[in-house]
């Protein structure tokens, strides 16, 4: 059922042994002479970890950089919210870590659906990231001797995670933001804040620039450049409820997709097992609770459906410690996807806890008895406090309630080894691309990838594309293609304003999210996905005919912004379901109920699906064309991922 390989999906992996490829690439690549760099204009969209690090570094190298963000300041990007840490193969613990081991863990963690060449490079540059961030003043946790501390994270047997309290993302983003701010102060970067990309412009098959909307005035403006980098984050908010910040959206990637950039593996989304469950219908987002809680908390639900007694009144004999029962060797520390599915199944069986019966208990009573309240407080005090602030319940007295939530999207714009999309001159970095995590991302690896792309990959690879363009004219913003894109965007926003229907963008977003969560969430079935693909187009039509956006288009209008983003989420949602339906296997975060072994574990089909699905726009998401990049494993042997 797979279609033939498309020549446009040539990953351009350099020659040589896996450990030599990146060096070989750097030796062979074309260089742009320092004095010529200022002749090139590079646009960077997004100023999260990937975008801020790319923009700052490209400006240091001498390129003219224009950076855009819809936020009021780069410091607000969603990267700021990452808690746990960042991986690097420093082997400071002397516990046997190495570049090869990080490479292997990432490939295996991704369930053998990532490209070896890219992942190995990621592991190689991981060590430089830590050096770079420390030099910039990121206050990573230290030991008493003054050296860097590490913690361990799921999916690896070594301690390679660097962290700054529970705010690693914040400190890394502030580091990258400050480096970017320095360039803004020096005039190396023009920063456009509160400005949203609404289209990319392609002329003669090359990316010629972008159209942006000034969110404060509604004005549309074109910008031409030699290269455009999209570092616009992930699309987890297609589910409506997720741990992503409220404004995360797919618009930049989706608009690029519609202009020819293929979208890879949209169905690979990650669910995080320990989030605070939804508490009321008005809820706008979900909050992640650190996975470390599972070290001492025990997951359980009442044995009998409908048992509404408070936890303390349910005797031991009437409790089901789900993970301990199903996975005796890993117990409460079973991997993310497995723990998530177990919680879902418990809730689906009517044994959920809490007022809405939509969570499972994470109980610390045994830990408190064993270790004492003080030790538990020292380990998890800040998390307990955060939980209490949100839920109003005290986890020292009553179990926490947790439930899985969408957290990260492995899918994204298809990119080659150079991080170039299928549109020459258009690049994608960070969570916006699909490159390194396969079907499942390991904890603490997204921050690593964002900074690797921005600091250590793009600044090299982009020169290869630019060098031949030296002193050649590029299309200016007066080119008809820019005017057309501006007009299309203008029409689109006028349409949202002029529909005059009855429902708000949020109403549609919530309905869309329900369909995607129910059918393309933690467990997917052929029947469910087929149903979703039947339900989505009429709902999307309703969106087009019954939308209500109040306010005007000439001053800041958050309702209007939301309408544009929901429009694109609808289209992406259809593509996700199609991708999930066509991938007749289970792998990583993509769990198709039909493909599991007797013990409920994911069953991959390497013979038919060891490939990347790269979708090509064809006028309608329901008509998108599925192209394939086969994955070749030269270094790692395909094996069943087992955590039993």
């Amino acid at each position: 059922m797979t279609t033939a390989t498309d020549p446009r999906l040539n990953a351009k992996i350099p020659e040589g042994a896996i450990a030599d490829k990146w060096n070989n690439y750097k030796e062979d690549m074309k260089l742009v002479n320092p004095n010529n760099k200022r002749k090139f204009k590079i646009i960077v969209i997004g100023t999260g970890l990937a975008g801020a690090s790319a923009a700052a570094t490209l400006a240091e190298l001498g390129y003219q950089v224009d950076a855009f963000t819809f936020h009021d300041s780069p410091r607000r990007a969603h990267s700021i919210a990452a808690q746990g840490g960042i991986n690097a193969a420093k082997n400071y613990r002397g516990d046997g870590d190495s570049v090869h081991r990080l490479f292997y863990d990432t490939i295996k963690g991704g369930d053998f659906r990532a490209r070896e060449g890219n992942v190995h490079r990621l592991a190689e540059v991981s060590v430089d990231i830590i050096d770079q961030m420390v030099a910039q003043g990121v206050p990573f946790a230290r030991e008493y001797g003054g050296l860097l501390d590490n913690r361990s994270f799921g999916g690896s047997q070594v301690s390679r995670t660097f962290y700054a309290r529970g705010q690693t993302g914040q400190q890394l983003l502030l580091g990258a933001y400050q480096q970017l701010a320095r360039q803004v102060g020096l005039g190396g970067v023009n920063l456009y804040n509160r400005t949203e990309l609404v289209d990319t412009v392609v002329v003669d098959g090359r990316c010629a620039g972008i159209v942006v909307r000034d969110l404060l005035t509604g004005e549309l403006q074109s910008h031409a450049a030699h290269a455009v980098v999209l570092a616009t984050g992930g699309y987890g908010n297609v589910f409506f409820l997720s741990t992503n910040a409220m404004q995360c959206n797919v618009t930049a990637a989706w608009r690029a997709h519609r202009k020819g950039a293929m979208f890879a593996n949209p169905c690979y989304t990650q669910i995080h097992p320990t989030c605070i469950p939804q508490s009321d219908p008005t809820q706008s987002k979900l909050t992640l609770m650190s996975e470390s809680l599972r070290n001492d908390g025990r997951v359980w639900v009442p044995l009998n459906p409908g048992d509404a007694r408070p936890a303390a009144q349910i005797p031991e004999s009437e409790r089901d410690y789900v993970l301990e029962r199903l996975y005796p060797s890993y117990g409460n520390l079973a991997p993310r996807d497995i723990a998530s599915r177990a919680a879902k199944r418990a809730v689906d069986s009517g044994r959920g806890v809490g007022p809405l019966k939509n969570g499972v208990n994470l109980d610390f009573a045994a830990a408190i008895e064993r270790l004492g309240k003080d030790v538990v407080q020292e380990r998890y005090g800040n998390l307990f406090e955060m939980y209490e602030r949100i839920s109003g319940e005290n986890p020292y007295d009553t179990p926490m309630r947790i439930y899985p939530a969408t957290h990260y999207t492995m899918g994204g714009l298809w990119v080659d080894y150079e991080l170039q999309t299928t549109v020459p001159g258009l690049y994608a970095a960070g969570e916006a691309n699909f490159s390194d995590h396969g079907a499942n991302r390991l904890g603490a690896s997204a921050l690593m990838q964002g900074l690797a792309d921005g600091y250590f990959v793009l600044p090299y690879t982009i020169g290869n594309e630019l060098a031949p363009l030296l002193n050649k004219p590029i299309p200016g913003t007066d080119h008809p293609a820019f005017k057309l894109a501006e007009q299309e965007a203008r029409d689109r926003y006028s349409r949202y304003l002029g529909t005059n229907g009855k429902r708000s963008p949020d109403w549609f977003h919530r309905e869309l999210g329900k369909i995607i969560w129910d059918n393309c969430g933690m467990e997917r079935t052929q029947a469910g996905l087929t149903q979703a693909l039947a339900d989505l187009p009429p709902l999307y039509e309703e969106f087009q005919s019954d939308l209500r956006v109040t306010g005007d288009g000439a001053s800041i209008n958050q309702t209007l912004e939301k309408a544009g983003r929901v429009d694109d989420f609808f289209q992406l949602g259809m593509l996700m379901c199609r991708d999930a339906l066509e991938r007749n296997e289970s792998c990583g975060g993509h769990f198709r109920t039909e493909y599991q072994d007797e013990e409920g574990e994911a069953k991959r089909d390497d013979e038919n699906f060891a490939h990347v699905a790269a979708w090509e726009w064809n006028g309608d998401p329901m008509a998108a064309i599925r192209n394939v990049e086969p994955l070749e494993f030269e270094t790692v042997h395909l094996a069943t991922r087992s955590y039993k």
Binding site: D131, V184, S284
Partner: protein, 262 residues
């Protein structure tokens, strides 16, 4: 008494500042929330209000928000005259309705500070903060040139103190709470973070000097009211201001310039 867990609050009246644009005159408008779960966050209550306004064909209330976890620094409301509302050490987005009672009249305003002009309704322009960082709130370290991270040992107490200051989320509550509209807590938090670390020493005095002077260009001056610390959702200690002032004075001495501040 505050509402207890799992209940609904009824009959809330919201007095919300509405202002069409930077130059328009603003005024309070009154809205009713008939019923809201005490589990809802304060911003979710505003979401409910906005849905209702859209249903009625009216403009939604504009306000900044994003992470809703107290870390991005976007949210910025004066609630009953207090920056980020009544709960100490808590950003607006982390505030929940269980902290309020049925029948309450809640006054919601934007940050009030000349350096943060109102954009619309409850949204203000805080880009003057970015100008301060651009003037020196960084350690110069070009990509690629860094030595191995463990070549720069940082004693744990120093790393911890730097981290305490680095937790600032750039929300601007300190400025909004200050009777003079001073940005000393924000600026000093960054100066302290970088000037405490060994990596930050080379630019220590230049940093203090240019950040303080940029701050003075945009913001009011500090007369030690201490309102900033009380309003700060990250409970940044006012001690950082003393450190900044000390480094600023030293910078001035080093440059043999007049001491402009005492």
């Amino acid at each position: 008494m505050t509402a207890s867990h799992g209940e609904h609050l009824t009959n809330l009246t919201l007095s919300v500042w509405r202002q069409k644009g930077p130059d328009a005159a603003g005024a309070f408008e009154s809205y009713r929330i008939d019923s809201i779960s005490d589990e809802a966050s304060f911003l979710e209550m505003l979401d409910v209000l906005n849905e209702k306004l859209i249903d009625e064909g009216r403009d939604a209330v504009t306000f900044d928000h994003d992470c809703r976890e107290g870390i991005c620094g976007s949210c910025s409301l004066m609630i009953d005259g207090q920056a980020h509302g009544p709960q100490r050490g808590t950003a607006t987005c982390q505030l929940h309705m269980r902290k309020f009672k049925s029948g309450a009249n809640i006054v919601i305003e934007p940050w009030r500070a000349t350096s943060f002009p109102i954009i619309k309704d409850l949204m203000v322009d805080r880009s003057a903060f970015d100008r301060i960082i651009e003037s020196g709130g960084y350690i110069t370290s070009q990509t690629g040139g860094a030595p191995d991270a463990n070549l720069i040992p940082v004693p744990k107490p120093v790393a911890d103190a730097a981290m305490d200051a680095a937790e600032c989320i750039g929300c601007g509550a300190c400025v909004a709470a200050c009777p003079n509209g001073a940005a000393n807590l924000f600026t000093a938090a960054k100066v302290a973070h970088l000037n405490l670390l060994p990596q930050g020493q080379a630019e220590r005095h230049a940093r203090a000097e240019s950040m303080v002077e940029t701050m003075d260009e945009y913001f009011g001056s500090c007369t030690n009211h201490g309102e900033c610390e009380a309003a700060c959702p990250k409970e940044i200690s006012i001690d950082v201001i003393a450190l900044m002032n000390k480094d600023y004075r030293k910078a001035k001495l080093a440059n043999r310039k007049e001491i402009a501040r005492s």
